[in-house]
Symmetry: C2
Subunit: 724 residues, 2 copies
């Protein structure tokens, strides 16, 4: 473990302290938790390890490795197995090299203590073993199963960059015990209802539509009622009993109330509660680790300004570090950040101010060079004339936006209408003209450079009259009203996190797809050729006359990885699997039940929990303290961009109306440089998470003492199962 | 408005102050908010108004009024229309009398200001008008519609006792603006996806299974995609496109991700957030009103003990009031409550202590007279002998419970198995014997009276070997482990609130059933007679060959109120309505879409929000302060019941093992009376709600100043729409 004093001792070993400090700051900014060796060559290797090219390469090879499923049996595009195996070997080589690189960066003992490294090594070895066995079997013309393909998505979880994904898995694992208790109760309820159903309906000699006996086998009933919870077989499962007497409907209504509505809500409640609890703890550890890193960076840079005074960091060192961390930062932006940190203008900052840096760098600030409208400089008399000013006011007015919203809406309706009609076809040109007019008007009113830089998306979309851009433009404009803002902001904010959930889903889907392909491949076939008689029963005589074949679900099969994925999506929405139980064995249902439990009960609920939490944060918190202080500073320095396309517009205009003289002079005094916080976006998911639980974190907690739990093995220790 | 000084002045007008105080306390206990006249005869009328017989009568007649739908055309049991109309007239009469009674109780101006009274009057008048019109039309042999039947369930909302229901409706109304914005965005997204679907798929000449053109009409697409959100037509709606190319599946997957998962979560988030916000405000007002009433009761009873001292209530007056409020309270229980209030044993209590009374009365306390085991008195030498003590310890041991759990589980499995087998049939007797043994053993170990009173349900169920009692017993035992306790407690606690949601659902279902019956009655027919050829197409040629008829959904119709209700439940689970659009007109779909929006998007989400909130309260709060203080007092007085069927058992037993002598003497000293808080149940839904938001309420806030909003018109003012 690297201790503070050790760093201080090592201060003099490096040619450049700033490199080390910059690494600490950068690690803090992106929440990297790699406890690299501090020897000079290890630091150089670490810088290389974090280089984006290597990361992209790694993810590219993971992608290649995962997409090998497209070319392996059962394949979408069949390739000889030696080709896929050669490519896989290459991928394995890349992963091994990356791992060796990582081993060189961090201390030896840390490397072997980290479970994710062990995981990768095991995955690599197992894959190699599997490839050898498979190759041998192939050579001997035996049937072989590439079982190690199930392990491939686990690489996505265990690479150093899979932090978000690991966190998501941890939060699932932590919620599992509680989910398990509810699941027991739920299954108990299902079993009891099944028993009741058997007693109530089993001996009445009812039949299903297919003429099979209805509710006579206990296990069949259990399965049918389980599927009823997913609402997939509602109301079919109830119809025979309901046709016999409406009294039986009460049984099913009661069942749906208890198991579909109450238990599913309880699952959500339990998942949500656990998710929140553990995530809070993880984020707390994350923030502690971040502060710890910033304190280390501070220790490297600190100077003693006065005898006996607090150690500080001078502006010069600060500038150099910021430049190293973010080479593309503009000088103006850096000056702004410094003035936020050095609030009292002392030329040096203490520890508290320095620690903010990582978060400050995460706030996106847009720098705009503002200048007067070129027409105003060229021909002020004309541009300042009454009709010109009226035009400006009209274009700046909210009604202008609304009118164009309506135009786009009408355009959308026209696109939806019959295109054969020549009038409608010609209307496209009218709309094009209207959009061009809008852009010209806006160019007249707003300074062109500012117009292009800030509202690029906003203003440029309408000029492309293609369908999609219209939609996008309309979408953005519809989203505009203030009332929608909270909802939209949250939706935008949820965006990056959905990527994590996307990876999570891919990991789970991939595993289920691999297993499903082994179990069900070519059991159900899809025929492109409509004349083939086998099409009517999906190429499997067992399906003759079943609803599966009648509804033409033949393409819902496990015959290749693409259709497997699409089928799994369908199963997530509505768990329909009767066909596969028919063509194989009743026990195939177990596969589908496990999938439902994993994906719908656990993952979808965690996703819903995340969306709920994100919304409540948006509703309750408005801005982080740091963001506010940055904004305040920008306003203090009178560098704020006037937000003319916002609600303030009307107010601003009223001010202009009331007091034209002053506003004119104010306009003349406008500084040449302006800032605007792109407040509603977060660079990293971590920043969003941190904000979620910000209220509970003590800003003065510097984590000076290494938190043994948080920093035990280069990764966060997983919270233990404490709910048992 | 009745002011504090007014009450003090009036002190001397009544023959009995205690009656008035008791009414205030009782109103506070049950959260009644009726601002009755304080004149003596009005108070007597008010007591009568609150009498349970009148309330039961009122609900009985509401039930009769609602169930008239069973006998009116289209009827389950047809009755001549003069009979149903006569009964309805009787119901109207009862409601009118009840309303007149209410008008006599409260001041005239309050009566006319209260919207719920106006509502009832309007409903009664409209019903009368409708009956006259319908009677006239019938007499003239014309077709008449009993449109006023839609208004019937509104009575349930507007009677004085419908407080919970009104609150639920208010919370829905308050959430509506926010829901509306999300709904706009959601519909916009659906419309845009539909447009894309039209452009992508409309011109490819694809056909559905029925051979109809696929995705060619914009409105059809919008409807299909809306239904896809409910997952009802997944994957059918996607299959034609997916069969054409798997690329189109991506479109549908994207659609489901955005509209089913994200937007539905957003609906839940918005509903939940609004629900929480407004409920908090309502409960705050409720608590203020309750305290206000208690302060009034205090003002009536107060005495000046010392010159210049704080006014107090003596124990004698307190006893008399408690006796009036709850005549069946035991003296011991009353003494206990007094000792909680009069913490310092001063013989009189101040305002703060008095105000607690309403909440204290709501905590259910079980009084148990404890005595030594009769065998111990009869034959101590035998009962105290080593084998007897060993037996007692065995029966008290946790393993004993587990063993009997296993026995019941085995019994349940046996019941589920084939009954023809004689061995299994005979096994019933073995189980019966085992259950009898259990009861005998418990009777030997525990004092019989305590055994019967406390564990009645627990211990008695197994002795009845019928199926249902087995299930109940097993259910209770399975719920027993500590781990499940939180979940079970919450589920039990949710119980009474579900009744409110049940009423809410009934109101909405009834209205939709009445409208649906007018629109769709006899369009789809169910034939009991299997030989009838019309059965194959539900008696409507339009349904020939449709999936609706093929799946034998004929009994899902609007032909009477019972099948309408069952159909509406099915629509709540999965919105399947293709059949009804086929037999009437495409616009019939509007009915189903509105139903889906009302029930699934709004009401089900509010229900889920309630369950979530109840869970989080259970997870975060453990016990209310008052309950804890009552428990503390019980323990202080050493009157607590030893909980031998809990976890403490093992610890308690270890103590006995270590120190037998003391525990024996302690057992001898056991008081003859014991208390136990039935902590996990709440008498009223209000108490649960209050507990939910207890943390935010200031216990010292007595609402001395009338809150104009809270007490404006005898009912709570509805929070205004402030989110716009």
């Amino acid at each position: 473990q690297i201790e503070g004093p050790h760093i201080t001792m090592c201060r003099f070993c490096y040619s450049n302290d700033f490199d080390l400090a910059a690494i600490y700051v950068s690690d803090a900014q992106y929440n990297r938790n790699i406890y690299f060796d501090t020897s000079p060559q290890a630091v150089r290797l670490y810088l290389l390890y974090n280089h984006w090219v290597l990361k992209v390469l790694l993810y590219f090879f993971i992608l290649v490795d995962l997409s090998l499923a497209l070319f392996e049996e059962p394949a979408v595009v069949p390739l000889p197995s030696w080709v896929t195996m050669l490519v896989e070997l290459l991928c394995l080589l890349v992963f091994t090299l990356r791992l060796i690189h990582y081993a060189k960066v961090i201390p030896r003992d840390k490397f072997w203590k980290d479970p994710k490294n062990i995981c990768i090594i095991v995955i690599l070895l197992l894959t190699l073993v599997d490839m050898i066995i498979y190759g041998a079997l192939k050579a001997a013309n035996c049937y072989g199963v590439r079982w190690s393909r199930v392990l491939r998505p686990l690489l996505l979880v265990n690479v150093t960059e899979g932090r978000q994904l690991r966190r998501a898995f941890r939060s699932i694992r932590n919620a599992l015990p509680q989910i398990f208790y509810v699941f027991l109760l739920f299954m108990f309820s299902v079993l009891m209802f099944s028993l009741m159903a058997l007693k109530l309906l089993g001996k009445r000699g009812l039949t299903t539509i297919e003429g099979a006996p209805y509710f006579t086998s206990y296990l069949e009933i259990v399965f049918d009622l389980y599927v009823l919870v997913t609402t997939a077989n509602s109301p079919d499962v109830m119809m025979p009993a309901y046709n016999a007497s409406f009294v039986f409907a009460i049984f099913f209504i009661l069942y749906i109330l208890i198991n579909t509505y109450i238990f599913m809500s309880v699952f959500l409640a339990v998942v949500y509660n656990n998710y929140k609890k553990y995530l809070k703890e993880e984020v707390r550890q994350l923030v502690r680790a971040k502060r710890h890193k910033m304190v280390r960076a501070f220790a490297v840079l600190q100077e003693q300004k006065e005898e006996g005074g607090e150690p500080v960091v001078s502006q010069a060192s600060w500038n150099q570090v910021v430049h190293l961390v973010q080479p593309d930062i503009s000088n103006a932006h850096r000056e702004l950040l410094w003035s936020v940190c050095d609030d009292k203008n002392q030329g040096a900052i203490g520890k508290v101010a320095f620690v903010q840096l990582a978060d400050l760098l995460n706030i996106e600030v847009i720098t705009i060079k503002s200048r007067p409208h070129p027409l105003n400089s060229l021909c002020p008399a004309f541009y300042q004339s009454a009709p010109s000013r009226l035009l400006c006011r009209m274009v700046q007015h909210r009604a202008f936006v609304i009118v164009y919203d309506l135009i786009i809406l009408v355009n959308a309706v026209f696109i939806g209408l019959d295109e054969e009609n020549p009038m409608i076809a010609n209307s496209e040109w009218v709309f094009l003209a209207l959009y061009m007019l809008e852009i010209l008007l806006k160019l007249y009113v707003f300074e062109p450079r500012a117009f292009f830089s800030r509202h690029s998306f906003w203003n440029w979309t309408p000029c492309d009259v293609s369908l999609l851009s219209d939609l996008a433009s309309l979408t953005i404009r519809t989203m505009f009203p203030v009332r929608f803002r909270t909802i939209i902001n949250t939706l935008i904010r949820i965006g990056p996190a959905i990527l994590t959930f996307g990876q999570l889903i891919i990991v789970v889907y991939y595993i289920f797809a691999m297993v499903g392909m082994e179990l069900f491949k070519n059991k159900v076939k899809f025929y492109e050729d409509t004349s083939d008689p086998a099409k009517a029963y999906c190429g499997n005589p067992l399906l003759k006359g079943t609803a599966f074949a009648q509804l033409n679900y033949c393409k819902n099969n496990f015959n290749n990885v693409v259709s497997s994925f699409i089928l799994l999506v369908e199963l997530t929405v509505v768990n329909q699997c009767s066909g596969f139980a028919t063509v194989t064995h009743m026990s195939a249902r177990i596969f589908f039940v496990i999938f439902h439990i994993m994906v719908v009960i656990v993952i979808i609920n965690i996703f819903v929990a995340f969306v709920l939490e994100a919304f409540f944060v948006e509703y309750s918190v408005d801005k982080s303290d740091l963001q506010t202080s940055l904004e305040k500073k920008i306003e203090e320095l009178e560098l704020a961009v006037a937000q003319y396309v916002t609600d303030n517009l009307v107010n601003a205009m009223e001010t202009i109306d009331n007091d034209l003289g002053t506003s004119q002079s104010a306009a003349a005094n406008v500084p040449s440089l302006m800032f605007k916080i792109a407040s509603k976006r977060y660079r990293t998911v971590d920043a969003l998470l941190q904000r979620m639980f910000e209220a509970d974190l003590d800003p003065e907690d510097f984590a000076e003492h290494d938190d043994p739990e948080a920093q035990g093995n280069g990764n966060f220790a997983n919270p233990t199962f404490s709910s048992a």
